[in-house]
């Protein structure tokens, strides 16, 4: 009897968790109108805002120049690029200085912090920003030349304080996990973030994010001690009622690459999870006015851990139903989470198809197979990252484990950059 009750409770909890996640993940495709509203509006040609684009770069001399060149090709007429380099990184500094000498719109700011991380670098540059809006990009990003014009238009037409553009991992063919990683980004930026913007609670992305300079200064910039400073900024801004707008156009997204190895993906995910945990513990989200908003915040920031939990429990639960002698009704309940998992799988397959269509990429049958077969293994990876994050947080290890990039998304030959795992704490 007790077993039955326990199994039923666990099954129902898992079912609702998976159902909510699925519901939110499919947000953008709820109706054709919602889908249409997730896109950028067409710019009207008028340009009123000036941009300061922050480009933190660390040991990224191989890709930095390409990124700067592409940014300079932007059709928008009023922007500056602030490259932030470390005082201990002469190679990158040199690339940045050369670019600054070539074009007056590029400036270089040197970060002298002993322990370096991305939020500290950006805070260093914040006082130097002259634009109305601060934008953040990563050194390996491929930015669309029309993006700034669209963002300008978005700021003006919606009265937003923050505009988050799309970021998309493209190299889905690289490995089984990069396929799943790409799709995660697709669902997150294509769909889920729009729901967060609508509900008034949003963890921002790490780049292609634009904030009004005064709003950013008022918020004291980024939290230098947080491992997910982007998420934290979004949570702090939306918690005090700042208006965040998300827009996604497949030809306007910032293209990125997945981490080059399974280990670096694990480290990246551990950092994010730990960051989410920190944001959760900072309790800024408790200022949100609505109960629903606070629930969404709580749930979203806990997601990595719930994911880890459910990844382990779902198969266990179904196994219990099949092999232990429980009443048929209870056994039925244990299959509910599997049903939602199956629906999620199917939507992922359709999502992969849509991803291929949107980006003009050829998705082959084998990729669908990889997607399905890789699902459980990816779940294990996520669970591992979640456990690792909790463990590191408990041990007080909150240094940055950075991710290395191989430039797989760039059209130029793959450039392997220096690995920078575990910057010394």
């Amino acid at each position: 009897m007790l077993t039955s009750v326990l199994i039923a409770a666990v099954s129902l909890a898992l079912f609702w968790m998976a159902a909510f996640t699925l519901w939110w993940q499919m947000h953008a495709w709820r109706t054709p109108e919602v889908l249409a509203s997730t896109r950028f509006g067409s710019p009207d040609g008028a340009e009123h805002l000036s941009f300061s684009l922050l480009l933190p770069a660390r040991h990224e001399q191989a890709v930095l120049d390409h990124t700067i060149q592409r940014l300079l090709e932007s059709s928008h007429t009023d922007f500056e690029i602030i490259v932030i380099v470390g005082h201990d990184d002469p190679e990158t500094t040199e690339v940045a200085r050369k670019a600054a000498a070539r074009d007056g719109r590029v400036r270089v700011v040197v970060d002298h912090h002993e322990k370096k991380n991305k939020p500290k670098a950006m805070n260093t540059a914040l006082p130097h920003c002259r634009g109305d809006v601060v934008g953040v990009f990563d050194a390996e990003d491929q930015v669309h030349p029309e993006l700034l014009a669209h963002v300008d238009h978005a700021f003006r037409t919606t009265g937003a304080d923050v505009v988050q553009g799309g970021v998309q991992l493209i190299n889905f063919h690289s490995s089984w996990y990069s396929l799943r990683n790409c799709l995660e980004y697709f669902f997150w930026f294509r769909s889920r973030l729009h729901l967060h913007a609508q509900k008034g609670f949003i963890p921002l992305g790490g780049n292609t994010v634009f904030v009004r300079t005064d709003v950013l200064r008022e918020a004291d910039g980024w939290d230098p001690d947080c491992l997910a400073e982007d998420c934290d900024l979004g949570v702090r801004l939306s918690s005090v009622g700042k208006k965040v707008v998300v827009a996604y156009d497949s030809d306007m997204v910032t293209r990125e690459e997945t981490p080059g190895s399974l280990m670096s993906l694990l480290k990246q995910r551990t950092r994010w999870n730990q960051g989410f945990l920190q944001v959760y513990r900072k309790k800024d989200w408790k200022q949100l006015p609505g109960l629903g908003q606070r629930m969404l915040a709580r749930y979203t920031l806990m997601t990595p851990f719930l994911q880890a939990f459910s990844g382990v429990i779902i198969p266990l639960n179904a196994g219990v139903a099949l092999f232990l002698d429980v009443p048929v009704g209870i056994a039925f309940l244990t299959f509910l989470p599997l049903v939602t998992a199956a629906v999620t799988f199917v939507f992922e397959v359709v999502g992969l198809h849509d991803f291929g269509k949107q980006y003009g990429l050829r998705v082959r049958f084998v990729h669908y197979v990889k997607l399905i077969v890789g699902g459980p293994f990816y779940q294990v990876l996520l669970a591992g990252a979640a456990v690792r994050a909790v463990w590191r947080e408990q041990r007080g290890r909150n240094d940055w484990e950075l991710t290395s990039h191989v430039g797989a998304h760039l059209h130029t030959a793959a450039v392997i950059r220096e690995t920078r795992e575990d910057v010394p704490a």
């Binding site: 519901w23 499919m26 495709w29 709820r30 109706t31 054709p32 109108e33 919602v34 889908l35 249409a36 509203s37 997730t38 896109r39 950028f40 509006g41 067409s42 978005a154 037409t157 919606t158 937003a160 729009h194 913007a197 609508q198 509900k199 008034g200 609670f201 949003i202 939306s238 009622g241 700042k242 208006k243 965040v244 707008v245 998300v246 827009a247 006015p289 609505g290 139903a321 099949l322 048929v328 056994a331 039925f332 299959f335 049903v339 199956a342 629906v343 199917v346 939507f347 397959v349 359709v350 198809h353 849509d354």
Partner: protein, 547 residues
């Protein structure tokens, strides 16, 4: 692209929920049932008329059917904790149908348990009829039929004498129709919401699990969904719906698997055997062969009404032929396909055609007939009409329309009046009631009396104090269920009474045990005359079978 960005944060939620009409080119005007007063009024009035006609005299007409008794008795078993049936559940049909009947009748049977008889519980079916009729109306409007045509569809569906007779009865098909109509209505949702389409898949699965024959109508549901979804979201909507439908549908084999009854084996029933039995039921011949059983079934339908079945078929044909030119024909593609599939299935020469088969087709026949009427009306009144048309021509158009309307009225109204008057006045169940009364009052010791009855009378005797299952016995179980025959080592000698109703006499031909009991018994009371009579026969205990 002229879309706008979502409004976002702040304390108030969402400008994003407001549709952005101009961003989706070609969006049709949206029909909202709940906020349209003319629709609500018309639908309400028609619903009242349908419920009056269907509800009046519901217990006494038509004749209690054996199948009604079966499902209601199994619903009784569910309510009283006897599992899915009071005899062994053998996967004859998925159990969802009578589980729903159990829910529907739960409250009244708690208030007065003796109400739980076929006649007593027929009123519960009014709820199903009402929901279905309203869904027919909403679906017609969502398929862009004008108000009058939607009203006609509802009337055709709810007031055709054929519908009145069949929808009054406690048949699983009526419940399955309700679910399928819900699936169609959600598939044609004007907001084209992903989860509405998902819900359509769930409802379609519920329809199939209520009555498995609904399976054949699924393509029509998905066709409707295809036509009503938007290009940009279609693949998510359709795959979502198909997945939902498949997953819920799989719960039935899963249920069998969990009970260890998926595959045949010694000493237990199985889903496999159940399906095999249904698939191997002896065919009832070709529908149009006058000597066949199917022909008889067809004529039993046409006896009640020719307008809806034949008119609906003609309507479906008209819509298929005018597909290229008529907007209405294309809008009604789903129902027309449903009619086409159901017709083709009924035409299989080797198949078995049950008497309630037509129930599944009724809403689609009604929609297709109303739709073709709308199409004809549009042709007569508006086609090739110019601003500069001469008044005489316009008047001629109206005259033709009025003539057609009058002709249709003159044909339909008298026939339907006769049919529906019979339905609200005739008493077809007097002999059943009398038989029930006799067995309740004349038998001294019901607890220890064993009697073979047909399913329609079974619950009456349960309430009278007979032991359910082995005291009062579904007659065919005496031959077919090992768990029952085991308790009758001396065959007919272990019985006290046989209630020989028309059903029992008909089926006894194939049931030697029942036949023997009839042979070795004498009528002690007879109700009614001729082939419809019900005889209560006492088994001759002393005579030793020599009569």
């Amino acid at each position: 692209m002229t879309s706008t960005l979502p409004a976002a944060t702040g304390t108030k939620v969402p400008a994003q929920d407001t549709p952005v009409p101009e961003s989706v080119p070609g969006s049709p005007p949206v029909f909202r049932f709940r906020s349209s007063r003319p629709d609500l009024v018309l639908c309400g009035v028609l619903l009242a008329a349908i419920l009056t006609v269907q509800g009046w005299n519901i217990a006494d007409y038509p004749t209690l059917s054996d199948d009604e008794g079966t499902y209601l008795a199994q619903a009784w078993a569910v309510q009283n904790g006897h599992g899915l049936a009071h005899y062994t559940y053998w996967y004859d049909h998925p159990p969802l149908g009578w589980i729903q009947i159990a829910l529907l009748t739960w409250l009244p049977s708690r208030i007065d348990p003796s109400l739980m008889t076929v006649g007593g519980m027929r009123p519960a079916m009014l709820l199903v009829s009402a929901v279905s009729a309203v869904l027919v109306y909403i679906l017609a409007r969502r398929l862009r039929l004008p108000v009058w045509a939607a009203g006609s569809a509802m009337v055709l569906f709810g007031l055709s004498p054929l519908s009145v007779v069949l929808q009054r009865e406690i048949f699983l098909d009526n419940l399955a129709v309700m679910w399928t109509l819900l699936a169609f209505t959600l598939a044609a949702s004007p907001s084209r919401h992903l989860w509405h389409h998902f819900g359509a898949g769930l409802a379609a699965a519920a329809g199939v699990l209520t009555k498995e024959t609904m399976l054949v109508v699924l393509p029509a549901v998905f066709l409707t969904m295809w036509r009503h979804s938007h290009r940009d979201t279609r693949k998510f909507a359709l795959t979502g719906a198909v997945t939902a439908c498949a997953l819920i549908g799989l719960s039935y084999p899963l249920f069998a698997l969990l009970k260890g009854e998926l595959l045949p084996g010694a000493g237990h029933v199985s889903l496999w055997d159940g399906v095999a039995y249904q698939m191997s039921r002896a065919g009832s011949g070709f529908l149009l062969d006058p000597g066949s059983g199917s022909y008889g079934v067809l004529h039993s339908w046409l006896y009640y009404d020719r307008v809806l079945p034949l008119g609906g078929l003609a309507g479906a044909l008209l819509l298929l032929l005018t597909w290229r030119w008529s907007v209405t024909a294309r809008a009604l593609a789903g129902p027309a396909l449903a009619v086409a599939i159901l017709t083709l299935v009924a035409m299989r020469p080797s198949g078995y055609l049950p008497a309630m088969y037509v129930i599944q087709a009724l809403p689609f026949l009604a929609l297709v007939l109303a739709g073709s009427a709308a199409s004809i009306a549009h042709g007569v009144l508006h086609r090739w009409r110019r601003r500069t048309e001469r008044p005489a021509v316009t008047w001629a158009r109206y005259a033709v329309a009025a003539l057609l309307l009058a002709a249709a009225g003159a044909y339909v109204v008298p026939r339907w009046y006769d049919g529906d008057r019979t339905a609200v006045t005739a008493d077809a169940n007097a002999s059943y009631r009398a038989a029930s009364h006799w067995l309740t009052s004349e038998v001294q010791d019901p607890k220890d009396t064993r009697v073979l009855v047909d399913d329609a009378l079974w619950l009456d005797l349960v309430h009278a104090g007979y032991r359910p299952g082995l005291g009062v016995i579904w007659f065919y179980k005496a031959d077919l269920d090992p768990a029952v025959t085991r308790t009758m080592p001396h065959g007919w000698r272990d019985l006290d009474y046989v209630v020989a109703s028309p059903t029992v006499r008909r089926d006894a031909v194939d049931l030697p045990g029942v036949m023997a009991a009839i042979k070795h018994s004498t009528p002690v009371a007879t109700f009614g005359t001729g082939p419809d009579r019900i005889e209560i026969r006492r088994v001759d205990q002393a005579a030793g079978g020599d009569r």
